[in-house]
């Protein structure tokens, strides 16, 4: 694996705030790499440092083998798709797209050809003569993408580029972005706070919290084997089983998380499969969510588990709130052991 982008001990302080703290990342050539985290977690600051808009307080940034830490943005072979697109309002679409070639003095014919090509890549053939003000949000987003891609950069940085689009358009663009990335073979570094977006497009995801990376992993690993409680909670939803509950309910030390869709609500006293635990409780709340229904089950002894059930239209009995005893079936293989937990976990583990 050759690293296209490397950060070494990358740190950024804004006054007292440690926006990015001692970050080491290696992003591979041709990878779709996402930086996922809540707002203020430092992901955008990392992107802006790679682009050259912010100077790191400490640390280095390498593109390939070249140290670009001290280079201005216009000397870095990276391009950015901005959150607000930053389309030049005084130029028509084709002039926007060919801007990068124009400042690099590519001759007029060649740059027109490449700009048209880039517009075709983002499915905006024939839009060259339009003014940015005549475009919809989704179209502007594509122009911004074409304007960056036309330069064939080593790395494309995308700063929450789908944030301003409505849900349906966002889903479509997610698929398209992934396809475009595969076609052009450029390394994409994608910043988002939307875990679904990150999971659906990325080869690997780095989960940020408070300026630090909690975990770097493939989407499957991230979901199936979250490295920390934060990741388990931020990527998908999960039930947290604390040390006390674990000892009482599961009979094992340590802290665990378990995904709602791995749990089933069954009648009290149903037969137990191998490796399966039955936790008796009562359904306290039922939430219908379209494809799934969530049931909140209060277990004997106080803990509450969220159980998710697909609405497959089958013959299963409806979930309803009642005082009748039911049980939550939980397979031991579904338990996610949380590392890096509290002191108590370490003592008992």
């Amino acid at each position: 694996m050759t690293a296209e982008v490397t950060t070494q001990g990358l740190t950024k302080h804004f006054g007292e705030v440690h926006a990015v703290d001692d970050l080491d990342l290696e992003i591979a050539d041709g990878e779709f790499f996402s930086m996922l985290g809540p707002s203020g977690s430092g992901k955008t600051t990392v992107l802006r440092m790679v682009a050259g808009f912010e100077r790191p307080t400490k640390g280095r940034i390498l593109l390939g083998d070249a140290d670009v830490t001290d280079l201005p943005p216009y000397r870095r072979d990276v391009n950015t798709v901005f959150q607000d697109y930053a389309i030049f309002p005084h130029m028509d679409v084709i002039r926007n797209v060919e801007y990068g070639l124009r400042v690099k003095r590519v001759d007029r014919k060649e740059r027109r050809r490449r700009a048209e090509e880039a517009l075709a890549t983002v499915r905006l053939e024939g839009y060259g003569g339009r003014k940015p003000s005549q475009l919809s949000g989704g179209q502007r987003q594509r122009v911004a993408l074409a304007r960056a891609l036309v330069n064939r950069p080593k790395v494309l940085l995308l700063d929450e580029p789908l944030g301003a689009l409505d849900l349906k358009l966002r889903r479509e663009m997610q698929l398209e972005l992934k396809q475009i990335q595969r076609d052009v073979g450029i390394t994409f570094v994608f910043v988002t706070h939307d875990q679904e977006e990150a999971l659906s497009m990325s080869d690997r995801v780095a989960v940020f919290q408070d300026g630090r990376v909690e975990q770097v992993a493939t989407p499957v690993q991230l979901y199936e084997e979250p490295a920390s409680e934060f990741v388990a909670g931020f990527v998908g939803t999960s039930n947290r089983i604390g040390a006390a509950d674990a000892r009482r309910l599961l009979g094992t030390p340590g802290e665990y998380a378990v995904r709602p869709e791995r749990l089933r609500v069954v009648p009290a006293g149903a037969s137990v499969e191998r490796g399966e635990l039955m936790l008796p409780g009562r359904v306290r709340e039922v939430v219908y969510l379209g494809p799934t229904t969530h049931a909140m089950v209060e277990l004997d002894g106080g803990a509450t588990l969220t159980v998710s059930r697909p609405n497959a239209g089958g013959a299963e009995p409806p979930l309803e709130v009642s005082d009748r005893m039911v049980a939550v079936a939980l397979h031991r293989n579904s338990l996610i052991a949380l590392s890096g937990g509290t002191e108590e976990t370490e003592e008992t583990a």
Partner: protein, 269 residues
């Protein structure tokens, strides 16, 4: 919004009244420029084109007009360069005392002209040992002309935000290319509006000019002021004033149209 009919009528009357109060004297200037009587009796006993003829051939008025235009053009040019630089510097960087500097740049337009005049007069003559003349007027006017350009640039830069310039840098343009291809086109209408206001300010300035002009040089406002009470010149002054009314309407009209312009539609491809 719907307005009560009676209220509408009242508003109309007031608007009309204000406009009448403001514009009647100006119309009077026009009428009097054709008044046969040298002391402007009302109603005019008769009309003549003599004064217009006299004014066109008055070398004093003509020289003063040329001086005024030259001063205004130069002061505006200085204001454009310095005002743009200051506007960009104060909105694109952060430094200690930024707000103080901003205040200091804007202050000259609020200072009483008489104070600016005396201060500059002193500084030019005693400290710098300069002869008062054309150059000193230009510098004096530039001090307050900068403000209009600075304010326009600053507001525009603020509204634009940094992302267009960052996008340009990201696409490989160095600072000068970015300024030429992105920043300047986005500022163009703001600069034009600021320049027209600056020109207008300089063109009719009299107080500061009085203190910074030497004895051998006259701008048009000073010429008017000195000739108004000379019986022979008074009718000519009226003609000059009438011309000035027409001339000053042009830049103000243009400035108003330009500053209302939206960025999106302002620049040609």
């Amino acid at each position: 919004m719907t307005i009560d009919r009676r209220l509408k009528a009242v508003l109309r009357v007031f608007t009309g009244l204000v406009l009448v109060i403001v514009y009647t004297p100006l119309v009077l200037v026009f009428v009097n420029s054709f008044n046969v009587d040298r002391t402007f009796t009302w109603p005019p006993p008769g009309y003549t084109l003599d004064w217009w003829d006299l004014a066109i051939h008055s070398s004093g008025a003509r020289d003063a007009l040329v001086t005024s235009i030259e001063v205004a053009l130069l002061a505006t040019a200085i204001a454009l360069v310095l005002g743009t630089l200051a506007g960009l510097a104060l909105r694109r960087t952060r430094f200690f005392g930024r707000n103080v500097v901003s205040l200091l740049i804007i202050l000259p337009i609020a200072l009483p002209g008489i104070v600016t005049g005396i201060a500059l007069n002193n500084a030019f003559r005693t400290m710098l040992g300069l002869e008062l003349g054309f150059f000193t007027i230009v510098v004096a006017h530039a001090t307050f002309c900068i403000v209009t350009v600075f304010n326009n640039v600053q507001a525009r830069v603020q509204r634009l935000g940094p992302s267009l310039e960052q996008a340009s840098a990201d696409l490989g343009a160095g600072p000068f290319k970015t300024f030429r291809l992105v920043t300047f086109p986005m500022l163009r209408s703001a600069l034009l509006a600021g320049a027209l206001l600056a020109f207008g300010l300089s063109f009719d300035e009299i107080v500061v000019t009085t203190f910074t002009a030497g004895p051998d040089i006259q701008t048009l406002p000073i010429w008017i002021f000195q000739n108004l009470f000379r019986p022979n010149q008074a009718p000519v002054v009226n003609v000059v004033a009438a011309v000035l009314v027409l001339l000053s309407a042009v830049p103000i009209y243009l400035a108003q149209r330009l500053s209302g312009d939206v960025v999106n539609t302002s620049a040609a491809p």
